[in-house]
């Protein structure tokens, strides 16, 4: 029975065809030997009399024996991933290539079972056969969708007597891209655009801090309005501000809090180089460093929502 996820895919039948497949005899590169046992004991920091040449003779085993869990180690293919002459060269894990081809490139050993018939001794020549014992349905795992493959490996000595077996369960999975979950932040209150104010917000979207200017007498004014407070002209245009100015005044908002901002939230009244004053957020600046008169500059920042905000920061000294 295939699960719904893998139902109807032609390659699933190909995958299933590997279940029960047996592979031929593979020989060990090295006979069981004292040097590899000693190096294994050294790496595992495991001093045990029966595994050491100089102490094993006194043990009940009458001589050196190999650690039980070295059983599969004797049959490792090694750095060149090759097998000694006389071995079946068919890759007993060829089923893996089917899964890799289908995108199940993640690999994870999940279970291992070993049974031992006797201690191996130096001089034993070990061989092994492999079998694909089971392939699970496609499972949803925390790593992504995947299949569990169980390989059965049986081990024999030079007299073809069984010395042990190992079952290895391996998960092949399609790695899921890790989605960086940014905490969802609501947008700040959005401005209500009017004929008088639209230029300001549109300017920010274009990365410009624009100031309204009377077309008749060239007086700058902010916040925007329909008429010049100096000459009462209704004609106006805009100029782009440099974005530099001084901190004229500020408050630090603690309450009420809006989820779009971090608190304490400093808000400044900036006197621009051009002469007008502008209320603007000072987000990202520690309120303790703010001083009246300090040089400020604008950073036009994207926030959640359609509009951008002119955020001011102290000008870095030097």
């Amino acid at each position: 029975m295939e699960s719904a996820v893998s139902d109807g895919k032609a390659w699933i039948a190909e995958l299933r065809s590997y279940v029960g497949r047996r592979y031929g005899v593979i020989h060990a590169w090295d006979a069981v030997n004292a040097s590899m046992i000693r190096q294994w004991c050294e790496a595992m920091d495991f001093d045990f009399a029966p595994f050491a040449a100089d102490t094993a003779a006194d043990s009940v085993h009458g001589g050196m024996v190999a650690p039980a869990t070295m059983l599969p180690v004797w049959l490792m293919p090694g750095l060149r991933n090759t097998r000694p002459p006389g071995s079946d060269l068919t890759n007993p894990r060829e089923v893996m290539t089917v899964l890799e081809r289908e995108g199940y490139i993640g690999i994870l050993g999940t279970n291992c079972e070993q049974e031992y018939e006797r201690y191996l001794r130096p001089g034993d020549k070990i061989s092994t056969t492999h079998m694909v014992e089971a392939i699970s349905d496609e499972k949803q795992t925390k790593f992504g969708p995947g299949f569990f493959i169980t390989f059965l490996q049986e081990f024999f000595d030079q007299h073809n007597a069984p010395v042990g077996r190992m079952r290895l369960r391996i998960l092949r999975f399609k790695p899921q891209p890790k989605v960086e979950q940014k905490p969802l932040r609501p947008s700040p209150p959005q401005p209500a655009l009017s004929q008088d104010t639209a230029f300001f917000w549109e300017g920010l979207q274009a990365g410009k801090l624009l100031i309204q200017r009377c077309a008749a007498c060239h007086t700058l004014r902010h916040p925007p309005g329909p008429a010049c407070t100096s000459c009462h002209s209704l004609e106006w245009d805009t100029v782009q501000a440099s974005g530099r100015g001084k901190l004229f005044s500020f408050v630090v908002m603690h309450h009420p809090q809006h989820p779009a901002f971090d608190y304490p939230h400093p808000v400044g009244l900036i006197e621009l180089e051009e002469g007008v004053r502008l209320v603007a957020p000072l987000a990202g600046t520690d309120p303790d460093v703010l001083e009246i008169g300090m040089a400020m500059e604008v950073v036009i920042e994207a926030v959640e929502g359609e509009h951008r905000l002119p955020n001011f920061r102290p000008v870095k000294k030097g």
Binding site: A49, E113, P175
Partner: protein, 142 residues
């Protein structure tokens, strides 16, 4: 020579002396090589990170070896490890420390077989949960 454990010394529920293994990049590599495992995840930092891991981690043969060590150091030189079953959990990353704790779950005076449950954990959680069966004497018919 260390004296071996006698079955009459064993009780169900008995705890084995636990031990800790500091895991370093060097020990991960050394144990991988001692088990003839050349998978890049046990020595190649760049590769292992590109596969979504924090750093290199020990291979399964090494985890099995630590389990064997815990049981055999307790059971003594006359004993014979009969079987091992392990289930892997969180990776055993370099920079961490693996603590192995074992407990006798059952014993059979007739066959001299003792079953031991082992948990190996590091700072990330359980790395391995295992059950090992040890015979306090090697079978005579070898």
């Amino acid at each position: 020579m260390t004296k071996s454990l006698h079955i009459s010394d064993v009780r169900a529920g008995q705890e084995l002396p636990s031990f800790k293994v500091p895991v370093t990049i060097t020990s991960v590599m050394a144990t991988a090589l001692a088990t003839r495992d050349y998978q890049p995840v046990h020595h190649d930092l760049e590769k292992v990170k590109s596969l979504g891991n924090e750093t290199v981690f020990t291979n399964t043969h090494t985890t099995a070896a630590y389990l064997e060590k815990l049981v055999m150091q307790w059971a003594g030189p006359d004993a014979f490890l009969k079987s091992l079953k392990l289930r892997l959990g969180v990776p055993n990353y370099a920079g961490d420390e693996l603590t192995l704790k074992g407990k006798v779950t059952s014993l059979d005076p007739l066959t001299q077989r003792v079953t031991i449950a082992i948990v190996g954990s590091n700072s990330r959680g359980d790395h391995v949960i295992a059950e090992l069966v040890v015979e306090l004497r090697e079978p005579a018919n070898v």
